[in-house]
């Protein structure tokens, strides 16, 4: 089971849960199942079938951006993070 860390503001959609355990072979499967389980997360995470612009996913410490096809390990950890720029 992958462990998904829910950003603080989105926890209103997960009944306050900071982490959620979900099965999934790819980041997309995780997002799909997460939004099935917590429908209020949908609009916060996804737009037109893609990760919402301005968000990035970290999988096992790697910033994979918006690449939802990223394959996961059985015990992967996922973070949804606001994308950053720089100077």
């Amino acid at each position: 089971m992958a462990t998904v860390h829910i950003p603080t503001p989105m926890r209103v959609a997960t009944d306050g849960a900071a982490t959620v355990q979900i099965e999934g072979a790819t980041a997309r499967e995780i997002v799909d199942r997460l939004t099935e389980q917590f429908p209020d997360l949908g609009g916060r995470l996804v737009e037109d079938g893609q990760l919402r612009p301005g968000l990035a996913i970290f999988v096992d410490g790697a910033n994979v951006g918006r690449r939802l096809r990223t394959r996961l390990q059985p015990d992967s950890e996922l973070f949804f993070v606001e994308a950053l720029g720089g100077g």
Binding site: H5, P7, P53, G54, D60, G86, G87
Partner: protein
């Protein structure tokens, strides 16, 4: 651990030895730069070229009742006048590239040329193309604009009040919980980050320090002003030459703003005279393009310094509150921060990054951080070196110093006890990978400056301060194409604009991997038609990400050379080994140069290429020490001595790393002591020149001692971490803490300019 003191101290926490990396070759662009041969945007002149100028708002907040350009259009020599009516309606489209994806294009478009309202003094209202700059300037005076002047709101604390004038009538707060505000507001967005139980953390604390800080607006201060030349051909092809941190980003913005196919837009990055984050977005390029389209001529535009200060993207002013709890033995139990940054005239400040940096140097059981992106009647703010981090960490590092003073704990020991390290949490993202804050702090502790008592002088108020800084660093996408020439040299095309000397640091990584001298590599910054997608030069990412692309391209070239030699030597390609720049198999060997000659005879010309979006940037830490003297009479603060320590991962080209460290300190000292936009009550910028906007000169800073720490980034084959941004983070806090050591004053506003210090001293007396 080995200390290399031949040039400047470098402390290695690894055993790797390289042939090219870490050396100090002559930079590839050095001759052109020092002889004036290098070509900048203003050097572009095309046949039939017209000159463009921009009419800017004299008001900070006003409704545009009407624009009548007929008198300007009638002026002899004027070819076109454009307003926002000439820009395509962006509808609900969102930005798709650059540093801030997902923002409405309509805001960017309205910032380019005001739509209906002006949001700040200097906001572009119209643009003119004429036969020469003088006629264009005259024409601006003939454009009649009727304004209905509105009350401006200039500071975040005023803009957040319920009765504040609303600048954007259809802006509703994107609240942290995902809902949207019900009334129009100047607060564009709220953010919330939380780890652990903050209430319990503060309940455990023996000491809680809770302070507020405010900030003026600060400009990046690049010396070369913005410029752009556009040539819109009749077949729809648009060629643009400009001073930008990212040609591909400018191409994307042109496509978004002008609704023009990206394949028809060709952007040529010229040499760049500084950017520091302020040139990661378009200002003149779309205007020059539109004027060129309308006139059928190339159009050249350039800002003067007043334009740059009034109407480009400085770093925000704003407010930060930091509260930290500690036990009597100096362990942090909790932190709370509240940050409100001014976005300027349109949403999108760097407050999110500031929120995530505010407690970054420390491992604390709990933290809560709230952020607010606030629209005010000032220019749309933008990135500036480690955007948001300097504000945030000025506040937290000042509070840390106060905690250390109150508990009588050595500030180095406190930071070492509480330091973030590998595996500790980061706010809102995965735990830290291998990082070097502890190693930087130890190097600072052992530095000559920290080990030398501050020299006292009778009647002088002198003090020493120390502060840490963190910046994430960014990955994004980079591309490299490397062509092996028949003499064994390599032409290296890369897409990253070279601001900090990255041609050489990228070429060095290529040379190291292929095993050739870096002098055999000719690095060229390529245009958008000549190399693959490459994002902005920003986020301290080029030596890291474009360097990785160069390393991968060198490996690609190695494979192609081996395949070519395999045919010649009648062996399998995978039987050919490569070491120290020599290919070998079955008793035969060839250097890269010999291989190139052999392959040329076979008609084989390897081209190594790579496009990469790295995923493990590796954050950067810095620790700075400042010694200051405060003039009690004038309030002027003089920097007596300064040491900057920084984890560079592995310093590819140490002089550039030292240069970035020193440059960051100089800009940070300017931010700390002098730089600030000054507005009158009506929102007019009063100091739109470098005479009145006081940046440091060589006379204002001492020699800045540098100590490079090398804790390799596990996310890069050579351990590279970005180095360009984090050195601007610690200076304001280090200087503020030194001022406190000297005077007992806690300064809570940047800049700590002479009048403010003088007033604080007077109040103290």
């Amino acid at each position: 651990m080995a200390i290399d003191t031949r040039v400047a101290p470098k402390i290695k926490h690894h055993d790797e030895e390289y042939k090219v990396i870490g050396t100090r070759p002559i930079r590839h662009d050095g001759l052109e730069k020092v002889t004036g041969e290098a070509r900048y945007g203003s050097d572009i002149n095309l046949p039939g070229q017209l000159h463009g100028k921009v009419l800017r708002s004299p008001h900070a907040h006003a409704r545009i009742v009407s624009i009548d350009a007929s008198r300007a259009e009638a002026l002899d020599g004027v070819s076109a006048v454009i307003t926002s009516a000439d820009l395509p309606d962006p509808g609900d489209k969102l930005t798709t590239g650059g540093e801030a994806p997902g923002l409405p294009v309509k805001f960017k478009s309205a910032n380019m040329l005001a739509r209906g309202k002006v949001h700040y003094h200097g906001h572009a209202v119209a643009a003119v193309a004429a036969a020469n700059p003088h006629i264009a300037a005259e024409a601006l005076k003939l454009i009649d604009v009727e304004y209905e002047v509105l009350d401006p709101v200039l500071e975040v604390w005023d803009a957040m009040k319920p009765d504040a004038p609303v600048i954007i009538e259809d802006l509703y707060t994107a609240k942290a919980d995902g809902t949207t505000g019900e009334e129009p507001s100047n607060v564009a967005a709220e953010m919330l980050y939380e780890v652990g139980d903050v209430d319990a953390g503060f309940a455990e604390a023996d000491l809680v320090v809770d302070r507020e800080f405010t900030f003026g607006v600060v400009h990046q201060g690049y010396i070369e002003t913005h410029n752009a030349t556009a040539n819109w051909l009749k077949d729809g092809h648009l060629h643009v030459w400009c001073s930008s941190q990212g040609a591909f980003t400018i191409r994307q913005e042109l496509a978004d703003l002008l609704n023009h196919p990206i394949t028809k837009i060709h952007v040529v990055p010229m040499e760049i005279g500084g950017g520091f984050g302020g040139k990661t977005t378009a200002y003149l390029e779309p205007l020059a393009a539109l004027l060129s389209q309308q006139t059928g001529h190339p159009v050249k535009m350039a800002m003067d310094r007043a334009d740059v200060l009034k109407a480009t993207g400085p770093t925000p002013g704003g407010y930060v509150r930091v509260k930290m709890g500690v036990t009597n033995d100096g362990m942090i139990t909790a932190g709370y921060a509240n940050l409100a940054f001014d976005a300027g005239g349109y949403p999108g400040s760097v407050v999110g990054a500031g929120c995530r940096c505010v407690f970054a140097p420390y491992n604390m059981p709990s933290a809560k951080v709230e952020g607010f992106d606030v629209v005010v009647n000032k220019p749309k703010t933008h990135a500036y070196r480690a955007p948001g981090a300097t504000h945030a960490e000025f506040a937290s590092e000042t509070v840390v110093d106060e905690i250390c003073r109150t508990l009588d704990i050595d500030p180095v020991e406190f930071r070492l006890k509480n330091s973030a390290k590998e595996g500790d949490w980061q706010l809102a993202q995965p735990p830290y990978p291998r990082i070097g804050h502890i190693e930087c702090m130890e190097a600072a502790r052992d530095s000559a400056q920290w080990q030398t008592p501050l020299e006292t002088a009778p009647g002088k108020k002198r003090g020493r301060g120390i502060a840490s800084g963190f910046w994430f660093n960014i990955g994004f996408t980079s591309s490299v194409i490397a062509k092996l020439n028949s003499d064994g040299s390599v032409t290296l095309l890369e897409g990253s604009t070279d601001i900090g000397g990255t041609r050489t640091s990228v070429a060095m990584q290529f040379a190291e991997t292929l095993g050739i001298p870096v002098e055999d590599v000719d690095p060229i910054v390529a245009d958008t038609d000549s190399v693959g997608q490459t994002d902005v030069t920003g986020g301290s990412r080029v030596t890291f990400a474009t360097g990785l692309a160069a390393h991968n391209a060198a490996n690609d070239m190695k494979d192609q050379i081996a395949e070519g030699l395999a045919d010649l030597w009648d062996v399998a390609a995978d039987a050919i080994t490569h070491a120290d720049g020599t290919f070998s198999a079955n008793g035969k060997s060839a250097s890269v140069r010999e291989a190139a000659e052999l392959l040329e005879e076979e008609g084989v010309f390897p081209i190594g290429k790579n496009t990469v979006t790295p995923t493990r940037e590796g954050g950067a830490f810095a620790v700075h020490i400042a010694d200051v003297e405060v003039d009690e009479e004038t309030g002027k603060v003089e920097i007596l001595r300064y040491t900057a320590v920084q984890d560079a991962g592995v310093a590819i080209y140490p002089p550039y790393v030292e240069g970035q460290m020193q440059g960051g300190v100089v800009q940070g000292v300017g931010w700390a002591l002098n730089e600030e936009y000054v507005y009158d009550d009506d929102g007019h910028l009063l100091n739109a020149s470098l005479l009145d906007y006081r940046m440091p000169t060589a006379l204002d800073v001492p020699n800045i001692e540098t100590i490079i720490v090398e804790v390799p980034n596990p996310g890069h084959p050579y351990g590279v971490r970005g180095v360009g941004e984090v050195p601007i983070v610690p200076p304001p806090a280090a200087v503020a803490n030194a001022i406190h050591d000297a005077t007992g004053l806690r300064m809570s506003h940047l800049p700590m300019s002479p009048p403010r210090v003088q007033a604080a001293l007077a109040a103290q007396a």
